[in-house]
């Protein structure tokens, strides 16, 4: 059942929140041993929350809907690990704003999902607690970094999950697992209580089975929050109404630079099929150009590690998390970080430290920031001609576990289509659009200008309708 169906069925008395929860817990018991979508299932708390919905004590637009949370979202008194040894066992003393809002809307949190350590990765293989597997083919990765959340929705463990997206970490796993994934406009959803990776790029967003469920969840979690100084101070847009609107006359641009080299033929064909479907529904579809997008990957892998090297300085064994002792504080910090961080996190910290260090700052970080300006300008120019832009979400379908773990650059290439929207701060979402030659899901990405969620959802809903 979708989230909207659950809300309606619980409200009408056709079923109970407890019965809905039981069904999902049964599926988790049956299959999560194999898939490892969850780091932790909070069964007792979920049962209490569902019972409160059934007693009429908890109401709201998500009353009775089971929700899984990426394990980098703080949950008060419940372990939040970021799939890192360095935070193993840590229980945050507060809830992330998105968690408070979901709970206030009646949602039932079922657990914390696996991720690449500190959200650094594109396959969920960088988790300190072992990889998550793709429900469509367990020999393949679910994508990442929010692979646990994507797999949880695809496997029917929860109709809704939250993830975070710094360079594609919601959209790419959504594509590989065949579910809907949304990265909202930067600042649309509060980051308070999201463990920071790259603060100028991170955004929280939903995974769902349907476009309408994504709209429903985003309406609940978006909106101004005084606890996040980068939160946009304006009311959250109404999205559910946009879903029924026709795309007749909508100007759709297919981004030439994101359909070129490195994009698998079957993925390209599905993207073209999506463009054709929108044209058949009345949209005006043309080729668009965002020339600087081809530099996005390079700029991102200088900017994101630079910000991460600064953000992750806080894990020093002093105030929270794991400590490995040493004779002096400096020794203790080094021993803690050396033992606590995995290889990919260390690589990114070192890369970021290097890009920010004296003598290299201008050539790397400074240059990358200038490229970021070029990407923003190119998007702005494209959005003068087009209402939304279309591209593949991921260059390929899900790849086998282990295929790219030894070659970080090959792994980074997974994010080539998703990164530009993080650099520009614009919203983008992935819609499942059929399967590739291997029978695995393909995702198509719809991008829109900042705060253009309504038109983005309008196009996404039309794509979804074209498949039914």
């Amino acid at each position: 059942m979708t989230a909207r169906e659950i809300v309606a069925a619980v409200q009408s008395g056709e079923t109970t929140a407890t019965a809905v929860l039981d069904e999902h817990l049964a599926r988790i018991r049956e299959r999560d041993g194999e898939l490892h979508a969850f780091n932790l299932v909070t069964e007792d708390a979920a049962r209490a929350d569902a019972a409160a919905v059934d007693a009429g004590d908890r109401t709201g637009p998500l009353a009775g809907v089971p929700i899984a949370l990426k394990d980098n979202l703080c949950t008060r008194g419940v372990p939040t690990t970021c799939s890192s040894r360095i935070l193993e066992g840590w229980k945050p003393p507060y809830d992330a704003t998105v968690v408070s809002r979901l709970r206030a809307a009646g949602a039932v949190v079922v657990g914390k999902t696996n991720l690449d350590e500190f959200a650094m990765g594109s396959s969920t293989e960088n988790s300190a607690f072992g990889p998550t597997r793709n429900p469509h083919d367990p020999s393949r990765v679910p994508g990442g970094s929010s692979g646990g959340s994507a797999a949880a929705v695809a496997a029917g463990f929860a109709p809704v999950a939250l993830g975070s997206d710094t360079g594609g970490s919601i959209r790419q796993p959504a594509a590989l697992c065949g579910v809907v994934g949304v990265k909202p406009t930067y600042g649309a959803v509060s980051r308070y209580g999201l463990v920071a990776f790259a603060s100028s790029l991170d955004q929280i967003g939903p995974f769902t089975q349907t476009v309408a469920d994504a709209a429903l969840v985003l309406e609940v979690i978006a909106g101004h929050d005084p606890m996040d100084s980068t939160s946009i101070d304006r009311p959250a847009p109404s999205l559910l109404d946009a879903l029924e609107e026709s795309v007749d006359g909508l100007r759709v641009g297919v981004v030439r630079e994101l359909l070129g080299e490195g994009i698998a033929d079957d993925v390209r064909r599905r993207t073209e099929a999506a463009a054709d479907a929108l044209a058949a529904a009345g949209a005006k579809v043309e080729e668009a150009s965002v020339p600087a997008a081809i530099y996005g990957l390079s700029a991102y892998y200088l900017i994101a590690p630079a910000e991460a090297s600064s953000n992750l300085a806080r894990y020093d064994g002093v105030r929270y998390g794991v400590r490995v002792d040493g004779p002096t504080t400096g020794d203790m910090m080094e021993a803690t970080r050396t033992a606590g961080f995995g290889a990919e996190v260390k690589r990114r910290i070192m890369l970021g430290t290097y890009a920010l260090s004296a003598g290299y700052y201008d050539a790397y970080y400074g240059k990358a920031q200038q490229v970021r300006t070029l990407i923003i300008r190119d998007f702005q120019a494209a959005y003068e001609q087009f209402d939304v832009l279309l591209s593949p979400t991921s260059p390929t379908t899900a790849f086998p576990l282990g295929a790219k773990t030894e070659d970080p650059l090959a792994m980074y290439m997974n994010d080539v289509c998703t990164i530009p929207s993080n650099l520009s701060g614009d919203p983008a979402m992935s819609i499942p659009y059929g399967t590739g030659d291997d029978g695995l899901p393909v995702g198509v990405q719809v991008m829109a200008p900042a705060l253009g969620e309504q038109v983005m959802f309008r196009a996404a809903a039309a794509l979804e309708r074209s498949l039914s």
Binding site: A363, Q369, I376
Partner: protein
């Protein structure tokens, strides 16, 4: 720009307070060099005087009303700290002296 060396990687590891073994140094040097090699397209780009963007939003200072309000509970925060002494975070000697 010269290629990143083993010494560069050892230096940034020290700056970032990470202890890397000789074996890891070799591995990381090769991997970081590959990423930086890819970044040469950005490095080589003539961007002229295009202003840098550090953030997608125009950042402005956000102030809250200067009113007393509850903060995180001290006991709850200290309960999840690795070491505590007299209601404070405790660390080993900072300069190596005996306490």
């Amino acid at each position: 720009m010269a290629e990143i060396t083993r010494e560069d990687v050892a230096h940034v590891a020290r700056l970032a307070r990470l202890n890397v073994t000789d074996e890891e140094l070799d591995l990381f040097t090769g991997q970081l060099a590959a990423v930086l090699e890819h970044a040469r397209d950005v490095e080589a780009l003539d961007v002229g005087d295009v202003p840098p963007t550090a953030h997608p939003l125009p950042l402005k200072n956000v102030l809250r009303p200067d009113e007393v309000r509850p903060s995180l509970d001290r006991a709850e925060v200290l309960a999840v700290a690795p070491a505590v002494e007299d209601d404070r975070f405790a660390v080993p000697p900072v300069l190596g002296e005996e306490p």
